[in-house]
């Protein structure tokens, strides 16, 4: 999904703002949002890929302005509403009772036709065996898929259609592109792939920079010669 979350290489965000002695949470609500997410979100489910994709689908303006926990909150609300646990109207009614303004920007944008997520992990964690042999060896030159896909993916836009070198094989893992949508774990081989800065950014690249990404086999095509 070509969403606002896919930030690598975007320009215009300015200086990085750091804080001295930063606390784990800047307000109580941030901690509550973390807690709600990590305790399973009251029925929102524990599919990490689905949860990531829900965050990608929040309102793009909210994505940039409501911070990390605002994004988690928006994603949580999407999942809760899409799972039929709560409905948007009752959440908004309660928020108004608690002092919200009717003009507040609400991050969640639940779909009217959500994916059916009934995730029962085959095993703990995300590592999985894959029957097929890995297609690429360390040192192989590969080209990444050129185009985006409508749903969840772990191939950032800045690395599409680029040539890189496989530097490590990470074994088999749950395939987020499938699992995020409730289409099964479909485990795939995962590789570390190194891209020269010039391959990614052209003549404007800084000298002697290599960007490493962890990419799933379906994103990669062999490059001969």
């Amino acid at each position: 999904m070509d969403g606002i979350h896919d930030l690598g290489g975007k320009e215009g965000f300015g200086a990085i703002e750091r804080e001295v002695d930063e606390p784990a949470f800047h307000a109580r609500w941030e901690a509550r949002v973390l807690g709600m997410n990590l305790t399973g979100g009251g029925g929102a489910g524990r599919n990490v890929d689905h949860s990531r994709h829900a965050i990608e689908r929040i309102d793009p303006a909210a994505y940039l302005t409501q911070g990390y926990y605002g994004r988690w909150l928006g994603g949580l609300e999407i999942r809760i509403v899409e799972a039929g646990v709560l409905d948007t109207a009752s959440i908004t009614r309660r928020a108004l009772e608690l002092g919200a303004s009717p003009n507040d920007l609400i991050a969640a944008r639940p779909s009217a036709h959500p994916d059916r997520i009934d995730y029962r992990p085959a095993e703990d964690g995300n590592r999985r065996g894959v029957q097929r042999e890995a297609r690429f060896v360390v040192g192989a030159r590969v080209r990444t898929r050129a185009h985006g896909v409508p749903g969840h993916t772990r191939l950032p836009a800045y690395a599409r259609g680029r040539v890189g070198i496989v530097t490590a094989r990470h074994g088999g893992w749950v395939y987020p592109d499938s699992n995020a949508h409730g289409h099964g774990e479909d485990p795939q081989h995962l590789y570390a792939v190194a891209f020269d800065g010039r391959e990614l950014w052209g003549d404007g690249a800084e000298p002697n920079v290599v960007v490493h990404l962890d990419l799933f086999e379906p994103y990669l095509e062999p490059l001969d010669g």
Partner: protein, 191 residues
């Protein structure tokens, strides 16, 4: 954003409704919050780094299989199903990001700082890492290869910083006190 902001109120609305439905409990949430506030943080990673500086055998194991090597510490916090530790040297400087999300090795570094999760760092570090690192106070010559690790899947990365000069006689505890969170993300060099 404070506790009267729009997301703060909406979070309270959702929490109160879920509690009323009996789907979560406030105590359960408190427990998670306490864990991340008190027990999970960069001190864990600092202990790993200090041991690696002291014990070459541990360092070798850590660089080969980070998850297996840190198992002895039994850290809580998750996000290190596969931990890859990358070593800074005179010739290579590593730095970690997650451009698509904010992935971070929680069990060794705790929750990430706000700048790590903000758009400025996530957008810029893959494109102009030297410039970003200069803003963090790092001047690295062009002969030093910058390796940016964009944590795009479930593998998590931690940087093994170089041991600062003059630390040779430090105890392991003194060594770990020198290790900063930022040095393990790769935006600081220890002096």
């Amino acid at each position: 954003m404070d506790d009267h902001s729009a997301p703060a109120i909406r979070a309270e609305a959702i929490e109160s409704l879920l509690i009323e439905k009996g789907l979560i409990s406030a105590a359960e949430i408190d427990e998670v919050v306490e864990r991340y506030n008190d027990r999970i943080g960069p001190l864990n990673g600092a202990r790993v780094v200090a041991l690696a500086w002291r014990d070459p055998e541990f360092k070798r194991a850590l660089l080969e299989d980070g998850t297996a090597a840190i198992a002895r510490f039994a850290f809580e916090g998750g996000q290190t199903e596969k931990l890859v530790v990358v070593e800074n040297t005179d010739r290579v400087h590593n730095v970690v990001v997650c451009t698509l999300c904010s992935c971070y090795p929680w069990s060794v570094l705790g929750l990430p700082p706000r700048w790590y999760k903000d758009p400025a760092y996530r957008s810029r570090i893959v494109r102009e890492p030297r410039r970003v690192l200069r803003e963090f106070g790092l001047e690295l010559g062009d002969e030093v290869e910058i390796r940016v690790w964009d944590s795009s899947a479930e593998v998590r990365y931690m940087v093994l910083p170089q041991q600062p000069a003059g630390a040779a006689r430090d105890s392991e505890a003194e060594l770990s006190a020198r290790v900063t969170r930022d040095s393990m993300i790769g935006v600081e060099v220890l002096r």
